[in-house]
Amino acid sequence: MSKVLIVAEHLNGKLNSSTARCVTCAKAFNAGSVTVLVLADAPEAIAAEAAAIAGVDKVLTIANPANAHPIAAVYAPQVVAAAQGYSHVLAPSTTFGKDLAPRIAALLGVAQVSDIAEVLGAHSFKRPIYAGNAIITVEAPADATLVATVRTASFAAAAAGGSATIEALSVSVELPTHTRFVELQQGKSDRPDLQSASRVVSGGRGVGSAENFAVIYKLADRIGAAVGASRAAVDAGYVPSDLQVGQTGKIIAPELYMAIGISGAIQHLTGIKDAGTIVAINKDGEAPIFEIADIGLVGDLFTLVPEIEAALG
């Protein structure tokens, strides 16, 4: 039976829902046991949140001031020490997990499966390559620790209702000082989080400027949606980089995705292929976004978006 260790992702003292998505992934291959590992300076509250996820058997905490920020070079040797006896080490395929997991895999001397999108067995998975243009089946050796990142958009968050035990763990590994956190510049926003929102309104180059993006924000606020963007919109400075959706941005699966003034490049589409309903608004009826949209509307966004708001009543 597989013994799974999930490295918890958290920020500002709160557990990220990506952790509960990893639990669902582990359950998909009938993990014998699921342990969540919380590395933090003050892990108690985060550990309590993790212990409440249904399906989690145990939560391990490693409290250390050096763990205040997720520095991969600091976290990795501790995870490796904690991973003794586990068959699987999972992390979410977010920037946190992408940064950390390969460092763990290399220290263990094992390969890593990136972006698990579907589980076929405890060592057999499907994952996207070529920006999602092909899906491969990969088999990992069963006699080595399996390190993998989990494509969070492919797995629902495990529900609450668990009551796992929480244990403090102490590991004796030397932690490097060669990497130092300076600051996190975080956009202040009261809007829903892009990665977990059930509705997302995204704007592209067609929006034309940072000022014009007010049109997108207004519609988003009206329907309680998170705001996203294409790479072109980010590159042009209309919005900050953490709003980028796509191959090299965020991979999301909201129930409703509205792409406004976005042409539908494959690198963008790979970020939304698991979305429930995709709405496209574009003045070019030939735009590739219409090939995958569930609902398409051709026209000028500056006319249509206010009309949509009016029609919402």
Binding site: A106, A111, P128, T179, G276, E291, L297, E307
Partner: protein, 248 residues
């Protein structure tokens, strides 16, 4: 200061990848090959550091089949001083790539290693992190800004929550994100000049790298197609439809 740049050749990002009907792979015959876009950004950053006087020597390295030479000449034409071609007929997985690059590091003793954050063929996003772990040095992944201050670098990283700034002591591994810079275009005279720049070839076997190719790909499939949707004529019809679906 010396900078080593990882420079992989991949199927061009504009190519619409097709899975072979028998599921044995993707069609690569006759498709356009280009430098991995993130690696072009890595090389550009190294060249800018040289132009600023921070670095003196920029070495591009690739691990790939014999016909990668033209690809490396491309890197030399862009401005690298030297190129290293580790020749192998088989595609290597990230752990093997990292172990191979570590051998080059032992030989070249670079102060900074810059790689792309991911290659747009396997989309793994692993090699830089693995290399940093094996080298026991810092990693600054997904970089959108790099400033060198003597023996350390201040790197701004694109993370899900925003922009994270870290300081790393050198030597270190940096992996690039898209907004770090815009790579230059290659000019014709540079292509001529590149022909005489040193290009070293090293057979992969001669480096005695322990293989890390532990994963087996057993099938390739085209992604599930989304079914064709409907077109609506105006905003009112769109909103009505979204309301019936319970989406707004």
């Amino acid at each position: 200061m010396k900078i080593l740049v990882g420079y992989k050749r991949v199927v061009d990002y504009n190519v619409r990848i097709q899975v072979k009907p028998d599921g044995s792979g993707v069609v690569t015959e006759g498709v356009k090959l280009s430098p991995n876009p993130f690696d072009d950004i890595a090389l550009e950053e190294a060249l800018r550091l040289r132009e600023k006087g921070v670095a003196t020597d920029v070495v591009v390295a690739t691990i790939g089949p014999a016909d990668c030479q033209a690809h490396l000449r491309n890197g030399l034409a862009m401005g690298a001083n030297r190129a290293i071609h580790v020749v192998t007929s088989q595609a290597v997985q990230p752990l093997t790539a990292a172990r191979t690059l570590l051998k080059l590091i032992e030989k070249e003793q670079p102060d900074i290693v810059i790689l792309g954050k991911q290659a747009i063929d396997d989309d793994c996003n692993q090699t830089g992190q693995m290399l940093a772990a094996l080298w026991n040095r810092p990693q600054a992944t997904f970089a959108s800004k790099v400033e060198i201050n003597g023996s350390s670098a201040r790197v701004t990283r694109e993370v899900d929550a925003g922009l994270e700034v870290i300081d790393v002591d050198l030597p270190a591994v940096i992996t690039t994100d898209l907004r770090l810079n815009e790579p230059r275009f290659i000019k014709l005279p540079d292509i001529m000049k590149a022909k005489s720049k040193p290009l070293e070839t090293i057979p992969l076997e001669s480096l005695a790298v322990e293989s890390g190719d532990h994963l087996k790909t057993t099938a390739y499939a085209a992604p599930a197609k989304r079914s064709k949707g409907v077109m609506v004529k105006d905003a009112a019809e769109l909103v009505a439809l979204l309301k019936t679906k319970g989406l707004v």
